[in-house]
Amino acid sequence: MEINLTEQEIVRYSRHILLGEVGGTGQARLKAARVLLVGAGGLGSPLALYLAAAGIGTLGIVDDDRVDLSNLQRQVAHSTDRLGMAKVRSAAMAAQAINPETRIEAHETRLTAANAAALIAAYDLVCDGSDNFPTRFLVADACVAERRTLVSAAVLRFEGQLSVFKPHAGADLPCYRCLYPEPPPEGEVPSCAEAGVLGAVTGVMGTLQATEVLKEILGIGDSLAGCLLLWDALAARFRTVRLPRDPACPVCGREA
């Protein structure tokens, strides 16, 4: 890969370039990457800030929501003076303030069955930080269909879950539906608006998610694909368990 970094970029990313696992080549790879964030909320905020800071070349952000006062306890890309602003615009401002070199593509729309495939196909890698099950399943299925790696995190109360789904990269690697085959019955699993969430928990999970995005792009370390990371903040306990492909999965199994 050609290392195409300006003098300013070499200074800006010097602490990355110092890492043997990243170096100039890795930093150039981050600059060439196109990453889509689904949701500019509690997970999307640290994702947008850290991925822009890290020098991801193009960040797409899709969200149709506006900044509300009740968001600011955790959605650190937004601010009190931007109440009422479209979240994608507010997140773009926060990311650009950190790193004007990152190109932000703001999609002020809801992800739907009609636009999911085209949006997802336009990026190399997708991060799900959405706050509802219909969107999560839409993103997960479109990522399998378009063969895009999905870095997916979820939070509730004092808990977080994180995994990487890339069934296109190996016959034993699972998709989201190998873990959860179908959405839960409507109204039976609460949202953060209903059950609450500790703000810092979204910060940790979104930052772990950003770390896995960078690892996937750089191709370093152990991928979380085939594993599920679980965090119980109250117990101060992290665990990583194996997550195999379900041979009967309707989306990526043998019969699919």
Partner: protein, 76 residues
């Protein structure tokens, strides 16, 4: 005495970090039923691996198994 002879053997395992004694034989599907859980709202982890949903009926629990119920969450 006759009653003791027909009692099913018990299965000692760890469930969510606590030791539990359950009637054997028992599958993952049977365990979920006994706990009154909705399979659409949980995943089951057995000995540090998620059990695929399609294997619930054929996965027989063994003494000493460590099981954790993972709750489906989707907040962002």
């Amino acid at each position: 005495m006759l009653q003791t002879e027909v009692m099913p053997p018990s299965l000692v395992l760890t469930l969510n970090g606590e030791s539990r004694s359950l009637d054997a034989p028992l599958t993952v599907a049977g365990l979920i039923g006994r706990l009154g859980l909705d399979t659409r709202k949980v995943a089951v982890e057995r000995n540090e691996a998620i059990v695929p949903r399609s294997a619930y009926h054929e996965t027989w629990l063994e003494p000493g198994d460590a099981l954790e119920i993972v709750h489906f969450i989707g907040g962002g």
